[in-house]
């Protein structure tokens, strides 16, 4: 964000080429060697109810290729659906999508279409990276029935992403070179607000999962200036310490309790 003008300046100053290359190697252009089109990850989300973990929903993360006349993009799709026994009480059918560059995971289009226990919401972001803006569309309900579109143009920095592409972007980071305690800050656009997410590398850990015992990178996630996520080091994410960096386990703690996300199956992996 703040570095963007500096970056532009550097491009036009050949004598700072060295600095530029340093800048690129430190911050930017992570190349995606972790996932490809056709990957499918399935998770079970559980919620902790007075000490008993109850399985609530199935979460799928899929990638596929989308071809347009101009470019080939990667479609990152996350869906969440409650298990049938919950459908009569609190039915969730969520769809989150992001259409990104296959190499740098730069988002071009984001869609969020959710249904959660009678509440539904539709949000769409169209990125224009050359202008540094996002055209946002939110479908809102009219009082008398039907919907209307609320259009907004938001300005973003060059590395602002949406929630889906951020999760996948985390997998492109070179975590092997990280030492415990290192933090990375990312800007995520959520509900039309840029939110800063801090990811801290905690340690390397071996954990047992449904897809075998895996050596993992343990990351702690927190949101700046927000108290949605509770506790320090209570919101954790484990990514496998191999080339694929699959998210295998996640723990979260919010005001109303805590829960887990466990992997059930992983297919179509790149490596």
């Amino acid at each position: 964000m703040l570095l963007a003008p500096l970056y532009i300046k550097l491009i036009y100053m050949p004598k700072y080429f060295f600095l530029l290359s340093l800048f690129i190697s430190t911050f930017g252009f992570a190349q995606n060697s972790a996932f490809k089109a056709g990957e499918k990850l399935t998770f079970a989300a559980s919620y902790n109810m007075s000490g008993v973990l109850t399985e609530l929903a199935q979460v799928n993360m899929e990638t596929s290729e989308i071809k347009t006349s101009k470019a080939t993009l990667l479609r990152l799709k996350c869906t969440a659906a409650t298990y049938s026994k919950w459908d009569n009480f609190f039915k969730i059918r969520d769809l989150y999508e992001s259409y990104v560059s296959p190499t740098t995971v730069k988002p071009y289009l984001y869609k969020r279409d959710i249904y959660e226990g009678g509440y539904s919401k539709f949000v769409q972001y169209k990125y224009s990276h050359s202008k540094g803006t996002v055209a946002s569309v939110i479908k809102k309900k009219k009082k008398g029935g039907g919907t209307y579109d609320q259009n907004n143009t938001l300005s973003i920095s060059s590395n602002t992403k949406d929630i889906v592409s951020t999760i996948y972007y985390l997998r492109t980071l070179d975590l092997n070179s990280y030492s415990p305690g290192k933090t990375v800050t990312m800007t995520v656009l959520f509900d039309n607000k840029p939110t800063e997410i801090v990811v801290k590398y905690v340690a390397k850990e071996t954990i047992n999962t449904n897809i075998g015992s895996k050596a993992c990178h343990k990351l702690a996630i927190s949101i700046k200036n927000s108290n949605i996520l509770k506790g320090t080091n209570d919101n954790l994410l484990w990514l496998t310490a191999d080339e694929n960096k699959i998210p295998v386990f996640a723990k979260f703690k919010v005001a109303v309790g805590n829960g887990e996300l466990k992997i059930k199956s992983a297919t179509g992996l790149k490596n």
Partner: protein, 139 residues
């Protein structure tokens, strides 16, 4: 004292029955265990004073039903995703809409990170070249 434990036992066992038939059947174990404890105490007190154990038996019966329903559910009921047909339709519609949106979107053409489809352009150029040659042959 006996009455108190019988009342507590009935409350706990009824709660266990209610929880066991709900999706949160895992939680039924707690009131079921409590009901068993209250029942046992009430049973002991009844025997001591040689009073009727009919109501205590009711507590045990309710608790056993609640426990069997919960255990049955935890063993035989696998967590399955319900009807996602509507979600799948939404996903398909979403892709179709996204394709249109992406067609209209401005990609940074000098953006090296995008796999731009230049093959089509090349093919068209070849066609033009061939056409030109044919024309020359004709003449």
């Amino acid at each position: 004292m006996r009455k108190l434990f019988i009342v507590l036992g009935i409350i706990a066992s009824v709660l266990a029955i209610i929880l066991s038939v709900l999706p949160v059947s895992n939680l039924a174990y707690f009131p079921a265990i409590a009901a068993l404890l209250f029942g046992l105490i009430a049973f002991y007190l009844s025997n001591k004073n040689s009073q009727s154990v009919k109501t205590v038996q009711l507590v045990f019966l309710l608790t056993i039903i609640a426990l069997s329903v919960s255990i049955y559910k935890s063993i035989f009921q696998t967590a399955e995703v319900g009807d996602t047909e509507e979600l799948e339709i939404r996903q398909q519609e979403s892709v179709d809409e996204a394709k249109e949106e992406l067609e209209n979107l401005d990609f940074d053409l000098d953006d090296a990170d995008l796999d731009l489809n230049e093959e089509d352009i090349d093919l068209n150029e070849e066609d033009v070249d061939l056409g030109d040659f044919e024309d020359i042959d004709m003449e």
